[in-house]
């Protein structure tokens, strides 16, 4: 019984963690087809904004919001000065965002120092039997679900979501309906950035905050979104569920290094069997 609960918790936690670091990427890479190699640094920026705000006495929850807004605005800036010139040019995008990533890591190191900062996680430790978990991780799980459902509902049911989906499918036709595509691209990139920054802030109390923290997430996030396939949100959910379950179980039974290896192996096999991802054969969805 106890063991089942712990494994269930591990799986939920791994799933939620993956969802958080993937959601922004699902929008920016999945929907917009922009390969933003600085995605991990957007997470890092969110974490730092949160860190600075908390140090200045702002409450953790308000700091989350500030991180989302700040990184969202930063994303809009990056879209305006860099990305908008590079839509459809994959190699140029890779180079430019790689450069941006290096710049952000370097810049943050200079300004904030190379050391790892921490944000105290609220609520202390909880015990499942003798097994201690940070109670804050339950908050992280809850927030991941809220963001996931919120993003899905926004894309699926709102006017703004329809405009974004339609414009990404065919910007020229969007313009024929009177929609300014450049503005939609800019705002969608900003929204994806805000989600990414918010994710960084939410994970910060558990992961710590350092200039190079993005590196740990970027590959995992890309693998997950790619494995998810063309229906970006459903794909991200299913791939996160699959990989989250594997790493949750393996982490519990052995070590987290082995969990990562297992996830990678499963991803490779999965993409051999389903080259266009888990949702590649879905007829509809987002």
């Amino acid at each position: 019984m106890e063991q089942t609960v712990i494994i269930l918790y591990q799986v939920l936690y791994s799933f939620s963690f993956l969802v958080l670091i993937c959601l922004g990427l699902a929008v920016i890479f999945g929907m917009m087809q922009v390969i933003n190699l600085a995605q991990g640094e957007f997470i890092m920026l969110g974490a730092y904004v949160c860190n600075v705000a908390v140090k200045d006495g702002v409450s953790l929850w308000l700091s989350f919001l500030i991180a989302a807004v700040a990184v969202g605005l930063f994303g809009i800036l990056v879209e305006r000065v860099l990305i908008r010139f590079l839509y459809g040019r994959i190699i140029d995008t890779l180079l430019a965002t790689w450069g941006l990533s290096i710049f952000l890591v370097g810049g943050t190191t200079i300004v904030m120092g190379p050391t790892t900062n921490s944000i105290p996680a609220p609520f202390g430790t909880m015990y499942i039997g003798a097994y201690g978990i940070p109670a804050y991780s339950l908050v992280l799980i809850a927030l991941a679900f809220v963001l996931l459902i919120g993003t899905y509902a926004l894309m699926r049911y709102t006017r703004a979501g329809l405009i974004a989906r339609g414009t990404m499918q065919n910007p020229v036709m969007a313009a024929a309906f009177g929609i300014p595509p450049q503005t939609v691209y800019m705002l969608t990139f900003g929204f994806g950035s805000a989600l990414t920054g918010l994710a960084g802030a939410i994970i910060a109390p558990l992961s710590g905050v350092s200039p190079t923290m993005g590196i740990f997430f970027i590959a995992k996030a890309f693998v997950t979104v790619i494995a998810g396939g063309p229906m970006v949100l459903l794909g991200t959910i299913s791939a996160s569920a699959l990989f989250g379950s594997i790493s949750g179980v393996v982490d519990y039974l052995t070590s987290s290094v082995l969990g990562e290896i297992c996830v990678l192996l499963v991803a490779i096999v999965l993409l051999r069997l389903l080259p266009s991802g888990i949702t590649g054969k879905f007829r509809r969805g987002i």
């Binding site: 405009i163 339609g166 020229v172 036709m173 313009a175 024929a176 309906f177 009177g178 509809r284």
Partner: protein
């Protein structure tokens, strides 16, 4: 309604349109006829703003819309049904229709449009990519009309569509045109279709309008041979 004067446009450095001038009165249907590759699609793309004019001007209701972007021209009242239909593949039929009126305020025109095109009703929840060519064409037309454009630009609505649906589209257009007083620029290669709808037919050749003929003249093989014969 629409006045086009000395319009030049092309792709990159390749000029295609060469001083195209004509005007369209309110409620009029003007047909544009020409061989493949003569610049019909290019003309419509230049009108809607997908291609920038390199010379000349386009006026809509007296206002110069040449400097406006495609989105602004659409909001100013130009509706465009492109060649190949361009249904958004992963959006449902319902969502495709909503896209057509998404920037227009006021009441939705979708329920009314579904009365005009009842074939779309059972398809509303299907993704656009699951529709047949004829269904897609009807959807493309309905999607444009719900935006309530002042001028409708139609690019080969009958291309690759079975005759029964061509007739259906012709009847619906005829009906809508007289009911709403729609102004239409109709690019077509189907002579019957164009003769049934247009009040005037412009012949385009290598990016120029070389003649204007009456639709009745399309029944005359000699005239057809003169302008469209090879």
């Amino acid at each position: 309604m629409l006045e086009i004067a000395g319009l030049n446009a092309g792709y990159g450095r390749i000029p295609i349109l060469n001083g195209v001038s004509f005007s369209v009165a309110e409620g009029e249907v003007v047909g544009i006829l020409g061989h493949n590759g003569m610049g019909k699609t290019t003309l419509l793309k230049a009108l809607i703003g997908e291609l920038r004019a390199t010379g000349g001007s386009i006026r809509l209701e007296g206002r110069d819309i040449t400097p406006l972007s495609m989105a602004r021209r659409a909001r100013a009242g130009l509706g465009y049904v492109p060649q190949g239909r361009q249904i958004l593949p992963q959006l449902t039929v319902q969502e495709n229709l909503r896209m057509g009126e998404i920037m227009r305020g006021g009441v939705s025109a979708i329920p009314e449009m579904l009365e005009t095109f009842p074939v779309l009703k059972p398809l509303l929840a299907r993704p656009g990519q699951a529709l047949s060519g004829g269904q897609q064409q009807i959807l493309a037309l309905a999607r444009c009309l719900v935006g309530q454009p002042k001028v409708l630009l139609l690019d080969e609505p009958t291309e690759g569509i079975q005759p029964s649906i061509v007739d259906e589209i012709a009847i619906a257009l005829k009906h809508l045109q007289s009911a709403l007083g729609l102004t239409i620029i109709l690019v077509e290669q189907d002579l019957h279709f164009i003769a049934a709808l247009a009040s005037r037919v412009l012949i385009i050749q290598r990016g120029r309008i070389i003649a204007t003929i009456a639709p009745t003249a399309l029944a005359d093989p000699a005239i057809v041979a003169e302008y469209l014969g090879i």
